[in-house]
């Protein structure tokens, strides 16, 4: 697995807390502003998921759909995404960087070119929503060669057979989707999430991060008591939606909310 991702989780464990994973869509609301927002957010989190904007984000709710639309309307290209990743890497040598998106973007660019370029700017992992374990043969070897962890999703509907598949194909961490739904929906029931995580741990030693619908410090604290990481996406993105122009204000808000979430994620001893 990517050495840096392993180190992130080891560090969090040593500090007796869960990792905070934050998502923003690259290029939202513009390439320049997006770079500033990501750099601002990165200061307070352990892993940043950089969203590759896509014309047809089938697994996303209205908030991240709109972010993709804004990013594409602003003319965001893969070069810009790489540039943002590179700037984050320069400023934060230890943060985990994951590119997250839909299969058609890397497929069309070519998995080899995609992986080579991503790895060159310091990306650690790739999460493609519509490449399940069964189809990961398309890119698995290429990602491995470039030392990129392929992060697999699991969901409430995943059977033990599917958990096994993801455990075998996945690397870096497992992203557990808290509810059967799209991004931005209400978070799933904590007790159910906890049960499913215990089941997944029987099949995989990878760290498990839980995401979808996390908005509050209470939710983050609940999840942090048993998950290795907590992913926050739509909640961060929605701060861009509500402040389209005031760049500094958005950075401040992102920083404030990220630090509040992070400090809620220390485990009780």
């Amino acid at each position: 697995m990517s050495k840096r991702l392993a180190e992130v989780f080891a560090r969090c464990e040593a500090e007796n807390r869960s990792a905070l994973v934050g998502y923003l869509t690259a290029g939202d609301p513009s390439v320049e502003t997006s770079e500033k927002l990501m750099l601002g957010l990165a200061e307070h989190i352990d892993i940043i998921e950089i969203g590759l904007p896509f014309s047809d984000p089938m697994a996303d709710g209205p908030v991240i759909q709109a972010a993709s639309e804004r990013a594409l309307a602003a003319g965001t290209h893969f070069d810009d995404v790489l540039h943002i990743a590179m700037r984050i890497r320069e400023k934060y040598p230890n943060i985990g960087i994951v590119l997250m998106g839909y299969a058609n973007v890397p497929y069309t660019i070519g998995f080899e070119a995609f992986a080579q370029r991503a790895s060159a700017v310091g990306v650690d992992g790739v999460l493609l929503v519509d490449i399940p374990a069964e189809e990961s043969a398309l890119c698995a070897d290429i990602f491995k060669q470039h030392d990129l962890s392929q992060i697999m999703l699991l969901a409430p509907t995943s059977t033990e057979e599917r958990i096994q598949l993801a455990a075998d194909a996945g690397d870096g961490f497992i992203y557990y989707v808290s509810l059967a739904g799209i991004t931005g929906a209400e978070m799933g029931e904590v007790a159910k999430i906890k049960d499913k995580l215990s089941l997944i741990r029987q099949y995989s030693k990878l760290p498990i991060c839980v995401g979808f619908g996390v908005k509050t410090t209470e939710q983050a604290a609940d999840l942090a008591s048993f998950a290795d990481g907590v992913v926050v996406g739509s909640y961060f993105v929605s701060q861009i939606t509500s402040n389209t122009n005031a760049e500094d204000v958005i950075v401040d808000n992102l920083s404030t909310s990220a630090s509040a979430l992070a400090s809620a994620m220390y485990k009780a001893i």
């Binding site: 896509f54 014309s55 047809d56 984000p57 089938m58 697994a59 996303d60 709710g61 759909q65 639309e69 594409l72 290209h77 893969f78 839909y102 299969a103 058609n104 973007v105 890397p106 497929y107 069309t108 660019i109 929503v129 519509d130 490449i131 399940p132 069964e134 189809e135 697999m152 999703l153 699991l154 969901a155 409430p156 509907t157 995943s158 059977t159 599917r162 993801a166 989707v177 509810l179 059967a180 739904g181 799209i182 929906a185």
Partner: protein
Amino acid sequence: MIDYDLSIKHAPDEGGHFGEYGGRFAAETLMQPLKEIEDAFFSAWADPSFHEERLDLLKNYVGRATPLYHAKQLTAEVGGAQIYLKREDLNHTGAHKVNNTIGQALLARRMGKKKVIAETGAGQHGVATATVAAMFNMQCDIYMGREDIRRQAPNVFRMKLLGANVIPVDSGNATLKDAVNEALRVWVASCEDTYYIFGTAAGPHPFPLMVRQFHTVIGQEARKQCLEQAGRLPDVAVACVGGGSNAMGLLHPMWDDEEVRLVAVEAGGHGLNSGEHAASLAKGKPGIIHGSLSYVLADNEGQISADAHSISAGLDYPGVGPELAFMMKQGRLDLDSATDDEALEAFQILTKAEGIIPALESSHALAAGMRIAATMEQDQVVLINLSGRGDKDLGTVMDLLGFDDEGKS
């Protein structure tokens, strides 16, 4: 009623791959629900009582077998091969789409689902879904792009009369691809009690296989009828392609008849070089959209084209079913296309020559079929799939051709 062949020919591999195309490129949450549909489909397909009920409904509710009509007036006007029309327009609800919705609604019922959802472009699949939902007493939500709602108003009203909710989709271009995205999003959150009746031979496995199987009644009947009426198989079989359901239905049963040339007609829109068309096979490239690897219209970084265009809402789709890509690559499927203008002209020619008003989608197959027939001998046969009737398109055509109060166009 003919004795249908219920074997599954040219099956994909276990993961639903037709060669390198197809597969199941879906979000994790949908992988298990899709597997459940796959299992239910194979178990139903192996169960004679499933076919008994399905074929009974196709006969007595839908009106199958549909006729094969020797269009002598059209043949004379074109001057070339004999043109035969497979009359899917005479099905209940007015298009081929109902062959599939009957099959999938039976499957949904076997799986104990009480609610169905579907996407629709032209509204024909939406109407066919709303129709079977009414008959099976299932709750029904239809997702439809706002642009298509405008273009296909009569079908929207039909769906509402049938008791379905028609939910407008505003994202993207507000057409068919966006309706699919939205239906997928809703299904992710509701798959426990809801069945997604996918409307064409695309999408994640098992939809391309299953939709094809439910439609092969078209080609099996046409093949037999052609032998009876013309004393031979067609030299050329022609169908229009949106996602590929009527094309696979007509053409797939003739795959192994090597003497039959199989032609898929894509929407040429404003012309194949205009950038505004929906010719995914001719002008697109391999890509992954809506759950399968096939041909798509996309830019260099994989963004799906916002410029896909066709006069007919049912063909206005930047993707295509994976098995068509496979057949094309195998050299078993020839491509053709018809522009908006050619389709509109074919629409009028058939109407006047034969008293049959075709759907604008089917008019694309007609335009190409007539063009091909004109280059052939009189003792040859061209079989064209008349996938639907044109009532739903009268508003669009009236706007384009103009209409004055005295009824002259």
